[in-house]
Subunit: 206 residues, 2 copies
């Protein structure tokens, strides 16, 4: 299982420091707040920092998919996010652009009903489908059980990611449930030693 270390709600200088400390992560995420606060500059000013994994920007596209995906891929992103709650036409064009660039799309399933997920489940074979519980709605119990149920319900979805207040203790069960990517925010960036915290998560994920 991969660990995606999410950086959020920090000044750009702090984001730079965190990327340097988290260079070993499978995926480094520049969170929505960085895109909303700094725009493309959050990517332009950090993309050159040496790291081993991919760089995801959580831009949460919900319309104007071609414009946003092209701009952020051209600026150096490896993975971009689109809202599953958006129009099918938006998901389609984002996927086309990602395929064209040889890059990846993560579909954020925030507030998507089961019916909605069923309509988009088989449509984007290379996409990552991100289970997501709104930060504004609070923490959810038994996340691994939810991943297992999700995979059983939507077997055509190959790649599943999960975000939402994950802690180190959640990792073994999530791996066992077949999660591909565990997205961890404050569990890593809020630790006294983020690099050590990342290493702990990555060891649990092996």
């Amino acid at each position: 299982m991969k660990i995606q270390a999410a950086i959020d709600r920090v000044p750009l200088e702090k984001a730079v420091t965190l990327i340097e400390e988290l260079a070993a992560a499978d995926i480094i995420e520049l969170g929505t707040s960085l895109s909303k606060d700094f725009g493309l500059a959050c990517l332009v000013q950090t993309r050159g920092i040496p790291r081993v994994g991919q760089l995801l920007v959580d831009i949460k596209t919900i319309d104007e998919g071609e414009y946003e995906f092209r701009r952020y891929f051209e600026a150096g992103a490896d993975i971009l996010t689109v809202m599953g709650a958006g129009a099918k036409a938006t998901l389609d064009v984002c996927y086309q652009v990602a395929e064209e660039f040889g890059k990846e799309m993560l579909i954020d399933l925030l507030e998507c009903s089961e019916e909605r997920i069923a309509t988009i489940a088989g449509a984007y074979p290379n996409a990552i489908y991100g289970m997501h519980f709104a930060k504004d709605a609070g923490r959810v119990a038994d996340v691994a059980g939810q991943v297992a149920a999700f995979r059983q319900q939507f077997p055509e979805i190959q790649r599943v990611a999960l975000a939402g207040g994950l802690q180190l203790a959640d990792i073994p069960a999530l791996k066992a449930a077949g999660l591909e990517i565990a997205i961890v925010g404050s569990g890593i960036t809020g630790a006294e030693d983020p690099a050590q915290a990342l290493q702990n998560f990555m060891e649990e994920a092996q």
Copy 2:
């Protein structure tokens, strides 16, 4: 009826020029692309330009409502957008922050079902409810008829805005249908003389 002149997909210097030219607008919108491209800088670098109306930033918040609304209101926005497709908790906190600042929230109804709209219709009396047809999904016929039907279906919604490729010829019927705010993008900014185009729209809206 008010005219909201939307500025999108331009460099920041061009946005500055357009705001100067469109200073008479009831509302000037900094479109999603400006927020995605430049972050808060799109607001910080334009908020001081003399104008008569309000400044809206189309940030399309869909999670982390308190953070995003506080940041953009503190940076000088008068109206901010939140996705109706987001969690109820997100809409709630955005509305609370808007009320606290004495500012306004526009709920973007993109991809909201009738059932969804019914659940949020009465909850935010001071909010603007924005009918929205995805740019990615193409142009919709008889927009004024849709506004009239919407107002009949959701009489508890007092304030209605509409975006989606509006032209000058659409304005009289939209006004007659009881629309509060007509959002116009390329119909104004794409004109040879944007200031004159805005004046034409505002005269039709009287």
